[in-house]
């Protein structure tokens, strides 16, 4: 199942689409929440590498407003629990990701995003 941890890494790669191709907009999303084992050390380590604004906005698109707009200076356990939930517990089963630049639609089916391009779209 694809979660926001992966969404934070994906960019559009359609022919000629090289700017404003991240993050992909979420559309028609069906989410299932599934518990995942909490690992505070992992989250602390990963935190600086997160594209924060993209994550916060994607979470909000899925109805979760627990994350602050700015990455906090001091990180406490409550924050890490919210981050854990957003990154690793909201499974996107169905929907699509749309490129804000070229409009290309990457479908998500049975929890697996399809990043394949049609032949005419390959750069």
């Amino acid at each position: 199942m694809v979660r926001l941890i992966t969404h934070n890494l994906l960019a559009c790669h359609a022919k000629g689409c090289t700017t404003n191709n991240f993050p992909l907009k979420l559309q028609g999303i069906v989410v299932e929440v599934r518990e995942a084992e909490f690992n505070a050390e992992f989250l602390r380590g990963f935190l600086p590498r997160i594209e924060w604004t993209a994550l916060v906005n994607a979470a909000r698109e899925l109805g979760d407003t627990s994350l602050p707009t700015e990455m906090p200076e001091m990180v406490d356990n409550d924050f890490l629990k919210n981050l854990h939930h957003v990154l690793l517990e909201m499974h996107i089963d169905e929907g699509a990701m749309i490129c804000p630049n070229c409009g290309h639609k990457y479908p998500i089916l049975n929890g697996i995003p399809n990043m394949l391009l049609a032949e005419h779209e390959i750069g």
Binding site: H91, I112, N114
Partner: protein
């Protein structure tokens, strides 16, 4: 008698069509059987994954059945590896690799595409994948995609491909007549679906068991390292250690070698401020 590995050549054919026919279609057909034979992590790869700091997120480009996604086994959940593969059927298996009700992150895509935000990953592995690409150019592009996907300041990558030089334990024997010193060898390696396994419709049926032919480019000594050099050069990255090399950014080949019928290269990206 087991069907033999046969030499082949990729000529006058669109490499994408060649790969669709001789790699992608085959893996989708044999996925569950193939997966059942791929379960033991190779030591150098397991060691690489075990050496990663907690919090790192990486890419397994050509994850297949997701064998490496649960590693390292002694620190589960300390790093996250996202699996990319071209075979939808193998990805369905990779999704739950390692069991224990843990769901893996998997993406259906092509290793030649730039599907990722540049520098997004801390590490990337490419295990037994790029040897399925039909031209030197495509194999070079695949290496470039790995380099582009990892952090320019600290990204690490490990690439493993099949070698022409097979060891005694290997079940494969590679025809040697057409081996060119620098160019490796294109072959079809048979996959036999044995009794009791799901019988796919499209295999060539022999009197004993259906056989699929998979395309591989077997690498020769030095070829993978050369490929990495060329890939980096084209990306305007110096090849060498950070202190010694000229240039503002580059890759260091941490180690390269041959292990159990495979060539491997481990590299690290660096940047000067």
């Amino acid at each position: 008698m087991a069907p033999a590995v046969t030499a082949t050549a990729v000529d006058d054919v669109d490499p994408q069509i060649y790969e669709d026919r001789h790699v992608h279609a085959v893996y989708d057909e044999i996925a569950p059987h193939f997966s059942s034979t791929r379960y033991k992590p190779w030591p150098i790869i397991a060691q690489f994954l075990a050496s990663l700091p907690t919090g790192w997120v990486g890419l397994d480009s050509g994850t297949g059945n997701g064998k490496y996604l649960p590693l390292p086994t002694d620190r589960p959940g300390s790093v996250w590896t996202v699996g990319l593969d071209r075979s939808r059927n193998l990805l369905s298996i990779a999704r739950t690799a390692g069991g224990n009700n843990v769901i893996r992150e998997v993406v259906w895509g092509d290793v030649l595409e730039r599907s990722w935000r540049d520098g997004a990953f801390d590490y990337a592995i490419s295990i037994a994948t790029i040897h399925h690409l039909a031209t030197w150019e495509r194999r070079k592009v695949a290496v470039q995609r790995l380099i582009q996907a990892i952090s320019p300041t600290h990204g690490r990558a490990l690439i493993y491909v099949w070698a022409v030089e097979q060891d005694g334990l290997s079940k494969r024997s590679i025809p040697r007549d057409q081996v060119l010193q620098t160019c490796g060898q294109d072959v079809f390696v048979p996959w036999v679906v044995t009794q009791g396994q799901p019988q796919p419709k499209s295999a060539v049926h022999t009197s004993t068991a259906p056989v699929f032919k998979r395309y591989y480019h077997m690498f020769t000594k030095g070829e993978l390292t050369s490929l990495v050099h060329e890939a980096a050069k084209e990306l305007e990255l110096t090849v060498g250690a950070k202190g010694d090399a000229e240039g503002k950014r580059g890759i260091e080949i941490v180690r390269d070698g041959w292990e159990r019928s495979n060539y491997y290269v481990e590299l690290r990206r660096w940047e000067c401020r």
